[in-house]
């Protein structure tokens, strides 16, 4: 397809040249100039958009806060000043021809507003000029302990769903923008940090599995190295018009992060600090020793083995949850200075350093981040400038094995909820009690689970990440309106994970000490060259265009070494050679590289101030795609109609903004890992005469046609602003269809290969989003102010096609339980749960007899009162056609029993101001999703293999408690051995008070003598209340990783913490 490639590239050029070639006439007019300052701090504010209302004439303030608007028609003009994070203001002014009128404006800080500047890919636009769907978030990170930048997005924007895959300090979060579309690939959005695109793939960047099954544990969060306090603004690009400029990487949405830049004329020093206390928000209510002993006795008597514990009161009573949970501190200190000179060769700077320290609510877990950032801008004359951004950070995480496995592989949390309360922590000889080896009675057959205290306090699992993200650019104005910019950036990351299991742990006991070290070095370089052009042909026509070429190269070098059988536990992982593992230490290493070359183009054209056109295209060439499909073109087109600028709308002055938007276009998801399109030969040894020889064999077949997944998205939106910005509303409805889905397709066995990755299959995501902001009380005219923002998102996900097969199962959900994984089936949402449907408890003998007469159970011959009924749905298919109930529970009765995808998500922000006081809150909600709570496989079982939840025993069915919530003792619900039943699914809906903050502006008269200008003190509560029916620690969970299969499963997850922090922000 070389001809289309050249065409698509060339198409960008004429439009650009046409725009450049024309010149505009300039009339005699006046000028307005002035200084924009912060109303409270008094500091100049750069990047303020100052416009003449009702025209396209305007300017932006420079780094010194000064602005000049040329070509202002003489007469009375209304001037509007607006900037992200400030309330817009308008003032009336009279302009005289040929003269400069001075207008200084003071802006008040505020939340999201109608007409802020919005950062988009390769540029910035006024919100009212946008044709695409872009959500803006101004994070409140200096007031809430925000571990990572993803957390700042929770509940804050429409169409953005943030899942806390693990609540552990440094644990990964997972983001879906308008639903997931890839089955096998990465569904996380593309991050663009100060112009540097970063593909976030936590699974790939995990330096080691820490000695646990990597496929079933949550990886650490690679973005945790970035300090959220350095963020100035976050933009979420959602529709094709906004994302197609990121081409083959735009399909999962794009999150653009802009860090703080220098802005003031004189240095302003800031100190932001807080400290807080975290505690476990919710615990399981489990049986204590007495309750457990009674449960054992009842179970044993029913089994005919008699009373086991004659005196339950004399048994030890251990509350394992209390032993591993704690109240833990969190603290943050951030120092910064910003400033800059004036004039043609001015320098502007923003420097900051921060230390964030968090101990986890599970003992021994901790997270520490030290970060430094320096942003420098240097003007070189009036037409050029150079700038650089450098971020350096070091993260140390002490991880405690928690999520992801059961039985011998269980983590500390999973073990703590399963361990018998009647066992002491340690034996008489000082060794940890092991449930499987120190059973208090031969009647009990406990599951062999590691001691939770030994897992939390004795395992060493240290993660480190040193990250440098640097970007520098030079910008030169060739002619008025035409700028050339060239940037060079690097993102270097060095991650490590060092793990040791001493003999005091179950795994260490079995292996005589188990050590593993892993490192990954990621090197990512970027060069981008763009030309941008802004021009007004006339009062009626404006053009803003950008075209560019970019190259990116990413190298990932990884190695691991694992050894066991150590003489002692002294050296831990520091001396890997000391192990005497049979067959020697296991060593792996690897190196992958991908490269990306891109041609970028966008033209924004505004006609008559109200018809907005955007055409965007990106041609991406990626080394990851097959040799015959290396280039992909991703175009989009959008149209906006600003109805309020129509003459007929002058009759409705209350309607400040009414705009309709429509966009359509393509973006891609490069889910392919490097080299997947190539045939591989892998090494494998054999022996001759007892001597090992090397061998190589063809391990995979090449697919030169392998390419990106394509998402075609159409979006219709409306923006409405009423009553001077007091009411603003944004609504979007979208349809996304992802085709060429990457799936591992099974090959005929005769090929010698099992599967090959191919582009087959399709998934759709359709939904709508509503955002409403109301300023109910205006704090400027009355002492009390109240602003409320509501957002609501609904997405429906459907698998349309799987390349010939009807369904695919994810691998088993858990290697110990061997339960079937979640299901990908045509016509269903991604990753639904599959198993037997149950229908409540058989309440009495008559009901049991009646059901026995009707349906044969899966095992045994009859149903007992107190059993849970399984629904007889279907018989064996005949000629591939389903048949009805057949009077027996068989595997044919399995069906789809739940969906992990929510029906809707919502967020609600409130801000009250009263004089110097401000109270702000954020609530978020998720509704209609199911969680597969695998902890319940143990916690609601009918035999004492582990401890169980308290109600399972006290509200179990008995002849005298027929209305019970749980089945009879001795009956284990939840699984049939290889399949789950719907008993394990729980409603994952929740409403959470995510944060509530009260802050006060310290009166300036108290500050003056210390030289302080602006100081605020606050108290914040995070995750204080969650309303949910979910029985586990946190309904916001995905213990088995962040992919689209096996999502929404809870296995021994790290518990959510609620946090109270007190902090102060000082400026002088």
């Amino acid at each position: 397809m070389p001809s289309t490639r050249v065409l698509s590239r060339l198409a960008l050029l004429p439009a650009f040249l046409a725009a450049v070639a024309s010149a505009s006439a300039q009339g005699t007019a006046g000028r307005i100039s002035g200084l924009i300052t912060d109303r409270t701090a008094g500091a100049p504010i750069p990047n303020v958009s100052v416009t003449i209302v009702g025209t396209q004439i305007g300017a932006r303030s420079g780094p010194d806060g000064r602005y000049t608007i040329n070509d202002v028609p003489p007469g009375s003009q209304r001037v509007r000043a607006a900037r992200i994070g400030y309330s817009p203001t308008e003032q009336q002014i009279t302009v005289t021809a040929g003269q400069t009128t001075t207008l200084n404006i003071a802006l008040s800080a505020a939340s999201v507003t109608l007409d802020q500047m919005v950062v988009v890919g390769y540029g910035a636009q006024r919100r009212s000029d946008l044709t695409g769907s872009v959500a803006s978030v101004t994070p409140n990170v200096d007031q809430t302990p925000t571990l990572s930048l993803e957390q700042a997005l929770q509940g804050a924007a429409t169409g953005v769903s943030v899942t806390q895959a693990s609540s552990a300090p440094g644990g990964a979060l997972s983001i879906r923008i308008r639903g997931g579309s890839s089955v096998t690939g990465n569904n996380e959005p593309l991050y663009v940090i100060d112009g540097f695109p970063i593909e976030n793939n936590p699974d790939l960047q995990n330096p080691s599995d820490g000695g646990r099954d990597a496929s079933t544990t949550v990886p650490s969060n690679p973005l945790a190295a970035l300090n959220p306090a350095d963020i100035e603004s976050i933009e979420v690009l959602k529709d094709a018009s906004a994302t197609s400029i990121y081409g083959a990487r735009g399909a999962n949405g794009v999150i653009i992060i802009t860090t703080k830049h220098g802005q003031t004329a004189r240095p302003v020093f800031t100190i932001d600090t807080y400290s807080g206390s975290q505690s476990v928000a919710h615990r399981y209510h489990l049986l204590d020793a007495v309750g457990f002993a009674k449960f054992v006795n009842d179970w044993s008597v029913n089994n005919g083995t008699g009373v086991v514990f004659a005196n339950p009161d004399t048994l030890p009573n251990t509350d394992w949850q209390s032993l591993i949970f704690r109240t833990a501190p969190v603290a943050n200190l951030q120092l910064g200075v910003t400033g800059g000179g004036t004039g043609a060769n001015a320098t502007h700077y923003a420097l900051s350093g921060g230390v964030f320290q968090q101990q986890g609510v599970v003992i021994n877990s901790a997270f520490k981040r030290i970060s430094l950032r320096g942003n420098l801008d240097q003007n070189v004359g009036s037409r050029a400038r150079v700038a650089s951004t450098v971020m350096v950070s070091r993260v140390n995480t002490n991880s405690v094995p928690t999520d992801g496995s059961l039985n011998a592989g269980a983590g500390a949390v999973g073990a703590a909820i399963d361990y018998y309360p009647i066992l002491p922590v340690r034996q008489a000889n000082g060794a940890y009690t092991l449930m499987g080896q120190n059973s208090p009675s031969s009647v009990l057959q406990p599951t062999n689970i590691p001691n939770p205290v030994s897992m939390a306090s004795d395992v060493t699992d240290k993660l480190g990440d040193t990250r440098v993200l640097a970007n520098a650019f030079g910008e030169f104005e060739l002619t008025p309106g035409l700028k050339f910019r060239s940037s060079l950036g690097g993102d270097l990351s060095n991650r490590s994970r060092d793990t040791y299991y001493p003999r005091t742990t179950l795994m260490g006991q079995q292996t005589n000490g188990y050590a593993k070290r892993g490192t990954t070095q990621s090197t990512n370089f970027l060069n981008e060259n763009t030309l941008s052009y802004d021009h007004s042909f006339s009062a009626n026509q404006q053009v803003a265009a950008v075209a560019g070429y970019s190259r990116q190269q990413n190298d990932l070098v990884a190695s691991t070494i694992q050894n066991s059988n150590f003489v002692s536990d002294i050296d831990v992982f520091e001396n890997m050679g000391a192990g005497t593992q049979t067959g020697g230490p296991q060593v792996t290493s690897g190196h992958t590289r991908w490269t990306l070359a891109s041609y970028i183009g966008r033209v924004n054209y505004t006609l008559a101030n109200r018809y907005l056109f955007t055409v965007t295209g990106r041609e991406d060439g990626s080394s990851r795609f097959g040799a015959d499909h290396q280039w992909g073109f991703f175009p989009s087109a959008a149209f906006g109609w600003r109805v309020t600028d129509e003459p007929f709308m002058q009759k409705f002055p209350a309607i400040e903004l009414l705009k309709f938007r429509a966009s359509t276009g393509l973006a891609g998801n490069p889910s392919i890992q490097p080299y997947q399109s190539m045939a591989h030969l892998l090494s494998q040894q054999y022996t001759f005469g007892g001597a090992v020889v090397p061998g190589y064999y063809p391990a995979s077949v090449g697919n030169p046609n392998l390419s990106w997944e394509t998402t075609h998205q159409t979006d219709y939106g409306v923006d409405l602003g009423l009553y001077g910005g007091r009411v603003s509303f944004t609504g979007d409805i979208y349809r996304k269809k992802t085709t060429d889905l990457l799936l591992a397709v099974n090959l005929p066995f005769e090929s010698g290969f099992g599967t090959a990755l191919q582009n087959v299959g399709a998934v759709s995501n359709n939904g709508y989003e509503l955002g409403l902001t109301l300023t109910l009380l205006d704090g400027r005219t009355k002492p009390l102010g109240w602003t409320t923002t509501l957002n609501y998102s609904q997405n429906k996900n459907r698998v349309l096609n799987l390349g010939g097969v009807q369904s695919i199962f994810a691998g088993s959900v858990n290697s110990d339980l061997k339960l079937l994984g979640s299901l990908i089936q045509v016509g269903q949402a991604l990753g639904v749960f599959y198993g037997y449907q149950t229908n409540g408890i058989l309440r009495d003998s008559a009901a049991a007899a009646a059901y026995t007469a009707k349906v044969k159970p899966l095992s045994g011959t009859s149903w007992h009162p107190g059993d849970i009924m399984i629904v007889d749905r279907a018989g064996a298919p005949v000629n591939g056609q389903p048949t009805g109930p057949d009077g027996a529970i068989t595997p044919d009765d399995r069906t789809i029993i739940g969906d992990p995808n929510p029906k809707f998500t919502a967020g609600w922000q409130n801000q009250f101001t009263f004089g110097r006081f401000r109270l702000s809150s954020l609530m978020d909600a998720t509704y209609g999703n199911k969680i597969l709570n695998l902890n319940d496989v143990r916690l609601i079982q009918g035999s004492p293999g582990t401890n169980i939840i308290s109600d399972r025993y006290f509200d179990a069915w008995t002849a005298s408690n027929t209305g019970a919530d749980f089945p009879r003792i001795n009956f284990t619900p939840g699984t049939t051995g290889s399949d789950i039943t719907s008993d394990l699914l729980e409603d994952g809906s929740y409403l959470r008070l995510r944060s509530i903050t009260l802050d006060v502006q310290v009166p300036e008269r108290l500050l003056a003598r210390y030289g302080l200008t602006n100081t605020r003190a606050y108290i914040t509560g995070s995750n204080l209340v969650t309303w949910t029916h979910y029985s586990g620690f946190n309904p916001d969970v995905s213990s088995l990783g962040i992919g689209n299969v096996n999502r929404g499963i809870d296995v021994g997850q790290y518990p959510l913490a609620k946090t109270i922090t007190i902090g102060v922000n000082i400026a002088y």
Binding site: A23, L681, Q685, Y686, G690, Y697, S751
Partner: protein
């Protein structure tokens, strides 16, 4: 204006210059693995490629092939070995002739054989083009042909005619190949083995670190065995009996191999000594006591994982069937090498005794197998015993069998061959003057005593003497079903006739539309 255009033009040219370079920039460069474009370049690559074909015997197929599934699938359907698991277990299904078309072992053997064939094809496609020592190149090509023949021979015996693929899979197009006939598959095996005989050196010329590679003798032995099978199953003609006899006698006269004096030393891993690379072994799967490089069958031979038996995973998937166990003469030296009668681990001695009751240690109807048992194994997949595919005793038995068929009865040559085997076992010579049929049955009995668990041969031998074998297996199953058995099987026999071949795996048909409608008769 003109300056502006110049600037834009210059930048445009810069972009075009960069764009021309895109192709090089975007070419994927592998670092930590080898791609077909940078492999098959020299003698080292050629050796690594052929070694990779051998690795398919055990390192890459694990349990799926010679490591477990293939051995169980061939041994359990005989009257020799049963599975201790319940009749519905997938390991017991072949034992009681209740194999579903989606049986995972039936599938894994098909899949593993084709995996190995693709590797061999890859060698045959690429190594001839390498500029290297011609003798070594010829040997490697011969090895690849021997290995390809070995795997096709397994396929044709197991499933009958199968799709023939003689080139490595390069792309995703035209992968659906139809079934070839059994005659066509045998013709390919015959040609591959003849080519291998021409190309391969004598086993004696291999240095100590090449022991275990395919040799001229191995190719001749396999060719004789192939002719025997083709004749015995009616696929070939009577001429095949003579062909089998010719090649078996060539192996004998070449003198590369001889019987070791003591049968016990062939399998003496029980005591921990290793005498694997002896004069009798013609071809085997080479194993050492290291993860991934060792055998896997030992863990299925010891009966339980409780003390004093093996500490590692042991699950008693094999146990002798009672009738056959009692056919061993008590003075047959092979009896003690084939079964464990006494077990001593860490000073605890247990002894098998037919009269023991369930609660006593080592209580079972018959003893468990000893042949490939490794008491020093450190874990599954790290067992020392090489799995023997061909050894010289079988050559003698092939001479006896083929000679009896060629001459319409046993002559002195046939008697001499079988009596050599019996003499080493310490039992009397074969009764003279047996009829054609009686001698044939005697050879089959002898093969079962001599070669059980090796090869594997069990089910494939039954195919050559189907009616006789069926009757014996059904009798053994009837006994197992009866109340006297300690491990009764619910649904033993009669054996449907379709079992003279295994089913084409259902999954293979699902994945290859060209196989649809071509399932074996009766399945």
């Amino acid at each position: 204006m003109r300056n502006r255009m110049k600037t834009v033009g210059a930048l445009g040219l810069l972009a075009v210059a960069l764009a021309c370079n895109d192709k090089q920039f975007l070419t994927e460069q592998p670092f930590d693995f080898i791609g077909p474009t940078n492999f098959y370049r020299n003698a080292g690559d050629a050796l690594a490629a052929i070694n990779g074909v051998y690795a398919d015997f055990i390192n890459s197929t694990g349990d799926n092939y010679y490591g477990r599934n293939f051995v169980m699938l061939v041994e359990h359907p005989t009257e020799m070995w049963t599975s201790r698991l319940s009749a519905t277990n997938e390991r017991s299904q072949p034992d009681v002739y209740s194999i579903p078309v989606n049986h995972s072992y039936v599938q894994s053997v098909w899949q593993s054989a084709y995996d190995a064939i693709n590797r061999a094809n890859s060698v045959l496609d690429n190594v001839p083009k390498i500029d290297m020592d011609t003798a070594l190149r010829s040997r490697i090509i011969g090895e690849a042909k021997f290995l390809r023949a070995t795997h096709y021979f397994n396929l044709v015996r197991m499933y009958g005619g199968v799709p023939i693929k003689i080139h490595a899979t390069q792309g995703l197009d035209s992968l659906a190949i139809p079934r070839n006939t059994a005659q066509e598959v045998y013709a390919l095996i015959e040609q591959d083995l003849k080519d291998a005989i021409a190309a391969l050196p004598s086993a004696k010329t291999y240095t100590a670190t090449d022991v275990g590679r395919a040799s001229k003798g191995a190719a001749k032995t396999l060719l004789a065995k192939m002719y025997l099978q083709r004749a015995g199953t009616g696929v070939g003609t009577a001429a095949d009996w003579q062909n089998a006899l010719t090649y078996a006698k060539q192996v004998q006269s070449d003198g590369d191999y001889s019987l070791v004096p003591d049968y016990m030393t062939l399998f003496d891993f029980f005591g921990g000594t290793v005498n694997e690379r002896n004069s009798e072994v013609i071809f085997d799967v080479e194993c050492i006591r290291a993860p991934g490089l060792g055998g896997r069958i030992s863990s299925h031979m010891a009966p339980t994982n409780t003390a004093p038996f093996l500490g590692a995973s042991t699950n008693g998937s094999f146990e002798a069937e009672s009738i056959w166990f009692h056919t061993f003469r008590t003075d047959d030296r092979r009896r003690a090498a084939t079964f464990v009668f006494s077990w001593n681990k860490n000073g605890t001695v247990v002894t098998w005794d037919e009269t023991k009751t369930a609660s006593q240690p080592y209580a079972s109807e018959t003893p468990f197998p000893r042949k490939f048992l490794d008491v020093l194994m450190t874990g599954t997949g790290a067992e020392e015993p090489n799995y023997i595919i061909l050894r010289y005793a079988e050559v003698l038995l092939m001479i006896a069998e083929a000679s009896n068929e060629v001459n319409g009865g046993p002559n002195a040559e046939a008697y001499a061959a079988i009596n050599q085997i019996r003499a080493r076992a310490g039992i009397p010579s074969m009764t003279p003057g047996l009829s054609h049929d009686l001698f044939r049955d005697s050879v089959f009995n002898e093969r079962r005593w001599e070669l059980s668990l090796e090869g594997p041969n069990g089910y494939f031998d039954s195919q050559r003497n189907w009616a006789w074998s069926k009757a014996r297996i059904e009798a053994s199953m009837a006994h197992a079903k009866s109340s006297t058995s300690k491990f009764p099987k619910a649904n033993g026999g009669p054996i449907p006739d379709k079992y003279h071949l295994m089913p084409i795996p259902q999954r293979a048909i699902d994945l290859n539309p060209a196989l649809a409608g071509h399932q074996n008769p009766g399945w």
